[in-house]
């Protein structure tokens, strides 16, 4: 059991590309840390640097009190679960799990005990003699987990382990991974681009963008108080509505003068009836589209008084300019073409500087 600490870790490629631009964070003993971000943000590279599969340009990676920058992956006392599982196709499930232990010259009896125990935990006992190709996706995933467990490492590293599974299995395995990690209380770092996985698994959530950390913290804190517009749009599904305060007619009395972007989550907007809540906002929308998913309804509305300029920054994952998403419970709601007014109270509003890089606490 161990802490994993990153101190000003950087990765530059010879062609000048800076993949990781100086990252610091610490994962406490037994904690589950999730690195989340869009593709290309460097989260996988960072994980592979912790694993020792990529070199570190500068900075320090510390696993259990030992700086491992120059240590071979095998000697870092970590275990990794790969996205495509990377099972040895020609070895039985048993040998897949035992291989790493054998290479370390572990006693046969001890290997057998560990493999059978892991197989029992993961319900793989009847399949120990099968080859990976005879297993389903979920079972392969569990073998990959088993291979990590038998090592009893200081830290587990997961590289998008669930992205090859179908939606249903993914949710089931997500819960299993969490339970397993709690039970073994092994420090874990988990990379994903799925913000739902990130929210549900993490003790510590690290939101990354462009090789940098955007925000680190407890997932719910991040949801409640995103530090930048990037985090605001990335965490939470559907994403937060972001409006430029400068170019719109929205007036927020008492807002800090540097406030440039207003954010409001679709679930915090309600369909109201005229009066603007005290200090809050009211948006007049023409309903453009409606999605009813059963438990809730998504209403896409275009703001009535558009000044022509895009009121919303258009980053990936965000709504098209000018469109506002309202999420209401149940299956009721307006019809397409109807005019509605969406309101949100002051305490549900998020304010950011005009460049979106800083949150303003109001």
């Amino acid at each position: 059991m161990a802490n994993v600490t990153l101190r000003n870790v950087r990765k530059d490629y010879p062609n000048g590309f800076e993949a990781i631009k100086g990252i610091d964070f610490e994962v406490g003993d037994g904690q589950f840390c999730v690195l989340v971000g869009p593709s290309g943000c460097g989260k996988s590279t960072l994980l592979r640097m912790v694993a020792g599969l990529e070199t570190i340009t500068s900075g320090e990676i510390d696993i259990g009190g030992r700086i491992v920058n120059q240590v071979e992956p095998a000697d870092r006392d970590i275990a990794m679960v790969f996205q495509n599982y990377a099972l040895y196709p020609h070895m039985s499930v048993y040998n897949n799990m035992a291989y790493g232990l054998r290479n370390r010259g572990m006693d046969k009896g001890e290997i057998d005990t560990r493999v059978r125990e892991a197989a029992r935990i993961l319900e793989l006992s009847p399949m120990l003699d099968r080859k990976p190709r005879q297993l389903s996706g979920g079972q392969r995933q569990r073998v990959a987990m088993g291979r990590a467990i038998v090592r009893q490492p200081k830290a587990f590293l997961f590289d998008e382990p669930l992205s090859n599974l179908d939606a249903k299995l993914r949710i089931a395995m997500r819960v299993e991974i969490r339970k397993l990690q709690r039970r073994l209380s092994t420090t874990s770092i988990y990379v994903t681009h799925d913000q739902l996985e990130a929210m549900t698994l993490a003790d510590i959530l690290v939101v990354m963008n462009g090789g940098q950390v955007e925000q680190i913290g407890n997932p719910l804190d991040i949801y409640k108080k995103p530090a930048t517009t990037f985090v605001a749009a990335f965490i939470g599904a559907p994403p937060m509505n972001l409006l430029s305060l400068r170019d719109s007619d929205i007036k927020l009395p008492g807002a800090a003068p540097e406030a440039g972007i207003l954010g409001v989550r679709p679930e915090d907007l309600a369909i109201g009836n005229g009066a603007t809540p005290d200090g809050g906002i009211a948006l007049d929308l023409a309903v453009e589209a409606i999605e009813r998913v059963g438990a809730e309804t998504y209403v896409y509305g275009l703001r009535a008084q558009q000044s022509g300029q895009p009121a919303v920054s258009s980053k990936p994952g965000e709504l098209p300019p000018g469109e506002i998403l309202v999420r209401i419970p149940g299956q009721e709601g307006p019809a397409v073409g109807q005019k509605i007014r969406a309101v949100a109270p002051r305490e549900k509003l998020h304010l950011f500087t005009a460049d979106g890089r800083k949150r303003i606490n109001s």
């Binding site: 694993a51 020792g52 599969l53 071979e72 992956p73 095998a74 000697d75 970590i78 275990a79 990794m80 790969f82 996205q83 495509n84 599982y85 990377a86 099972l87 040895y88 196709p89 020609h90 291989y99 790493g100 290479n103 370390r104 190709r133 291979r147």
Partner: protein, 282 residues
């Protein structure tokens, strides 16, 4: 496939049978000739049914040889051919899988230069470099030896290329998983790459064994001693007799015997061979 009705099916089958007959008839004829008496063949009155000299001819071929030109039993030639083909096939596979491993998995100076050099040798057939090769082999005193027969033919750009392409389809994660599992370069090669290459090696073995078995020009050059000649050379020598009648039953028996090892290899390896050619499962 939809089954054709009636007459069309018979026509298709008839065409196939004709094709088989065209291919198989010379082989059949060779076998028939090997069981006839030489005098019957010589005066052109060979029957299309097996004659009565099967055991006698084959015994003489394998253990005694022709009375004149070759002076050695064909059993000896088959042994020579077998040793040469096995050395070539196994040597080629060993050398090329190792060089492919080096080219794909290691970063060393001039890696790509070396790869292209190997690749370029593809464009140089044996015949082009046969004189310098002969000279080197002669200077190394390897004439009339198994090493001289096989060593110059062992380097193979084709097989190196094939293994390189195969290695490049092996997911990088397998290498990374091996590194985390504490397997060094040698263990990764031995424990993971070799077992994964098994079907490729089998396919290659079939092709290379037959290639080695059918070598003619090179063995003709480097062997002069009778007890080192290969079966292909033997057949040729048996046919061109100067002062005596060609012993056609023995020539034909030798030809039939020369076909057997490649057939054996193909039949035994067929399952693996076909899997090697079509394998997609990684």
């Amino acid at each position: 496939m939809v089954e054709d009705e009636g007459i069309q099916r018979y026509i298709a089958h008839a065409i196939l049978w004709i094709g088989i007959a065209i291919v198989a008839f010379p082989v059949y004829l060779a076998f028939i000739a090997s069981t006839q008496d030489n005098a019957v063949i010589a005066n052109g009155q060979m029957s299309l049914l097996p004659g009565g000299h099967f055991l006698e001819t084959y015994y003489q071929t394998i253990f005694v040889g022709t009375s004149g030109s070759t002076r050695e039993p064909v059993g000896m030639m088959m042994f020579n051919s077998l040793v040469m083909s096995l050395l070539i096939a196994i040597g080629k596979i060993a050398i090329s899988i190792i060089s492919a491993y080096a080219v794909v998995y290691f970063r060393f100076p001039f890696r790509m230069t070396i790869f292209w050099l190997i690749f370029i040798t593809l464009m140089l057939p044996v015949e082009v470099r046969i004189y310098p090769t002969y000279k080197i082999v002669a200077q190394l005193h390897l004439l009339d030896s198994y090493a001289g027969l096989s060593l110059p033919l062992i380097a193979s750009a084709t097989a190196t290329l094939l293994f390189r392409q195969f290695f490049m389809t092996v997911p990088d994660e397998l290498l990374e998983a091996s590194r985390i599992d504490g397997a060094g370069p040698f263990r990764f090669f031995w424990d993971t790459l070799l077992p994964l290459s098994r079907t490729n090696m089998a396919a290659l073995f079939v092709i290379l064994f037959i290639l080695g078995w059918n070598q003619y020009l090179w063995p003709l050059l480097v062997t002069t001693r009778d007890d080192m000649q290969t079966i292909q050379i033997g057949i040729r020598k048996m046919i061109t007799t100067t002062d005596a009648l060609t012993e056609w039953p023995i020539v034909m028996a030798t030809a039939v015997l020369a076909m057997l090892p490649p057939i054996f290899v193909v039949v035994v390896m067929q399952k693996l061979f076909v899997r090697g050619l079509v394998e997609t499962e990684k």
